[in-house]
Each structure stands twice: as structure tokens, then as C-alpha cells.
């Protein structure tokens, strides 16, 4: 598997993502600067967490116009696997690659803690190593992770099986406890929790590694789930 991790000015989880990917035998991971315009040949593209452009205006609002984003959109349309984590999720929302938007956390506080996630769908390329209903330990760290979408969109998300992860104990006020959603075609996932921070026992959980692992399985099997 060939993976790319995009670095925007202000990304801060890019190296963690690279490490998480490099620890998978058979996975090669490249760091790609946001000004690059070529993402051809990758099986997985990761938009990491952080504070791209200082979160100015709105989280992800400026990063979504980075030169690399046109290439990302092209790859997404081709069905390439895209994983947006935290700020990466916010960028995907701003770019319109996923539906909805992020608001300030209901508590107005930055939340940084381990979180219990419930696997809503185990048949996605991101969650196939889990069982439906299984709970995972993956930390969150964000101030704007309060997911919002209107009722119609929410109905569609549930109807199409696009809600992959939800919080067992909602830390931010997100509608329907949503922690991670895919697009309609299932190749783009955005999630607020940080799987790259749950890749070793020493970090408190290895559940995040299984998310990268599931993507690896999907790609290794020829990209058909």
C-alpha cells in the first residue's frame, strides 16, 4: 500500500500518521506538502489533525483551497481511500467532500481525552476489522468537533449507512453522537478522534492501528471490500 499524508501549514499530527502507517509491514508512506498538486498513485491519502492556517476564519476553511485539494478531489472522485482526522475531517467538510459542518464544542472547552467509540458499521473499508456494536478506545483533542447537519442530511447519513463511528459518551454535542462519517460512495471517511494516537499499548490503546490496518486489508485485497 502506498499512502500519502498531507501537511498543511499548521498540521501537527502528520508525523504521527506517518509513523502509524510505516509500522504496517508492506505500507509505504510519503509526506506531501500542501502546495504539491500531484497525488496520483496513492492508495490512501490522509489529511491529518492540527490547526491548518491557525484555524483562521473557520477550521479548515482556508486549507480547503490549498493547491493539493484539487488533486485530492480528483482522487476522491476516482474512489481512492481518503481519511480525514480531526482538522482533516474539518477540511473535508469545508471542501464539500463530506456533508455537514463543525461548530464549537457545546461546552466551549477544548476536549482532550480518551473516548469510547461505538462501531456503527463494520462493513466499511475503515472498520472491517471490528464487529458492529464493538466499542473502541480512541482519544479526541479538539475545540470544534460539534458536528452539525440538518435533519434531512442526518436521515440520509443513517439511511445510507454513512455513520461509521459514534461516541458512547458524546464529548462535544455532535448531532446523533456522530464521531465519523463516510461519503455516499464510502471511500472518504472523516473522524474527529485520532486513530494515530491509539496505535500502541503504551499509548493506552491499539484500536486506532486497526483502522489503518483495515484500510491496508482493503487495499491489499485489490481495493474491493
Amino acid at each position: 500500500m502506498k499512502a500519502a499524508v498531507i501537511t498543511f501549514p499548521g498540521s501537527n499530527c502528520d508525523r504521527d500518521c506517518l509513523r502509524a502507517l510505516e509500522e504496517i509491514p508492506g505500507c509505504e508512506a510519503d509526506s506531501v506538502w500542501h502546495a504539491d498538486q500531484d497525488l496520483a498513485g496513492y492508495d490512501l491519502i490522509v489529511l491529518p489533525g492540527g490547526f491548518s492556517y491557525g484555524d483562521y476564519l473557520r477550521s479548515g476553511a482556508i486549507a480547503r483551497f490549498s493547491p493539493v485539494m484539487a488533486a485530492l478531489k480528483r482522487e476522491a472522485d476516482r474512489g481512492v481511500t481518503i481519511l480525514g482526522i480531526c482538522n482533516g475531517f474539518q477540511v473535508l467538510l469545508e471542501a464539500g467532500l463530506l456533508p455537514g459542518a463543525m461548530r464549537r464544542n457545546q461546552s466551549l472547552k477544548f476536549v482532550c481525552k480518551p473516548c469510547e467509540l461505538v462501531v456503527d458499521r463494520a462493513d466499511s473499508r475503515f472498520s472491517s476489522r471490528f464487529q458492529e456494536g464493538q466499542t473502541l478506545q480512541v482519544p479526541v483533542a479538539h475545540g470544534e468537533g460539534n458536528y452539525y447537519c440538518d435533519d434531512e442530511t442526518l436521515k440520509r447519513l443513517h439511511g445510507e449507512g454513512q455513520v461509521v463511528f459514534r461516541y458512547a459518551d458524546n464529548p462535544n454535542g455532535s448531532v446523533a453522537d456522530i464521531a465519523g462519517i463516510t461519503n455516499e460512495t464510502g471511500n472518504v471517511l472523516g473522524m474527529m478522534p485520532h486513530p494515530e494516537r491509539a496505535t500502541r499499548a503504551r499509548l493506552g490503546s491499539v484500536d486506532g492501528a486497526e483502522i489503518f490496518g483495515a484500510i491496508f486489508d482493503f487495499v491489499s485485497a485489490g481495493g474491493k471490500s
Partner: protein, 86 residues
């Protein structure tokens, strides 16, 4: 040249956690008459054109594309001829 003043607010149907917190603070200060506090953004920019219709059209595009997120935010703007701006 026009000076544009843009106001971006969170849509009415979307909960504004900051507005709610400020409303609570106002009440605890004794301003019980205050309600419906909404927090938004104010942006000011200069547009290098003399055609008001063009300025409005371009500014709408700026709002739709970048200045506001139409999923959760509304925007309003006014255009003032640069010389008249205070």
C-alpha cells in the same frame, strides 16, 4: 472603490454555544431582558471596482465560497463608496 462590511452569523436553527454562554453571563449580571444572543463575525474589505453591481456579485461569491459556511452560517453585507466610508 467600495468598502464592504460583511456580517456572518450562525443560522437561526443552529445552536450557537458561544451565544448561549454569553446570554447566561448577561443574565447572571442582572440583564434579564437580554435573550437570543448570537455571536457572529464582522469583516471589512475594500473592493477595487467602481461598478456596484459587479461588487455585489463578486462579494456574494466571496461569502458563498469562503467568508461564510452556508451549511451553518448566514451572511449580510453593505457596500459603501470608499470616500464615504467612516
Amino acid at each position: 472603490m467600495f468598502v464592504a462590511r460583511v456580517q456572518v452569523t450562525i443560522k437561526e436553527e443552529v445552536l450557537d454555544p458561544q451565544g448561549k454562554a454569553v446570554e447566561g453571563a448577561l443574565h447572571s449580571l442582572g440583564f434579564e431582558e437580554a435573550s437570543g444572543v448570537r455571536i457572529g463575525k464582522f469583516l471589512e474589505l475594500t473592493l477595487n471596482t467602481d461598478d456596484r453591481a459587479v461588487a455585489e456579485e463578486r462579494l456574494s461569491q466571496m461569502c458563498e465560497k469562503l467568508l461564510a459556511n452556508p451549511v451553518i452560517e448566514d451572511y449580510e453585507f453593505e457596500l459603501v463608496e470608499a470616500g464615504e466610508a467612516r
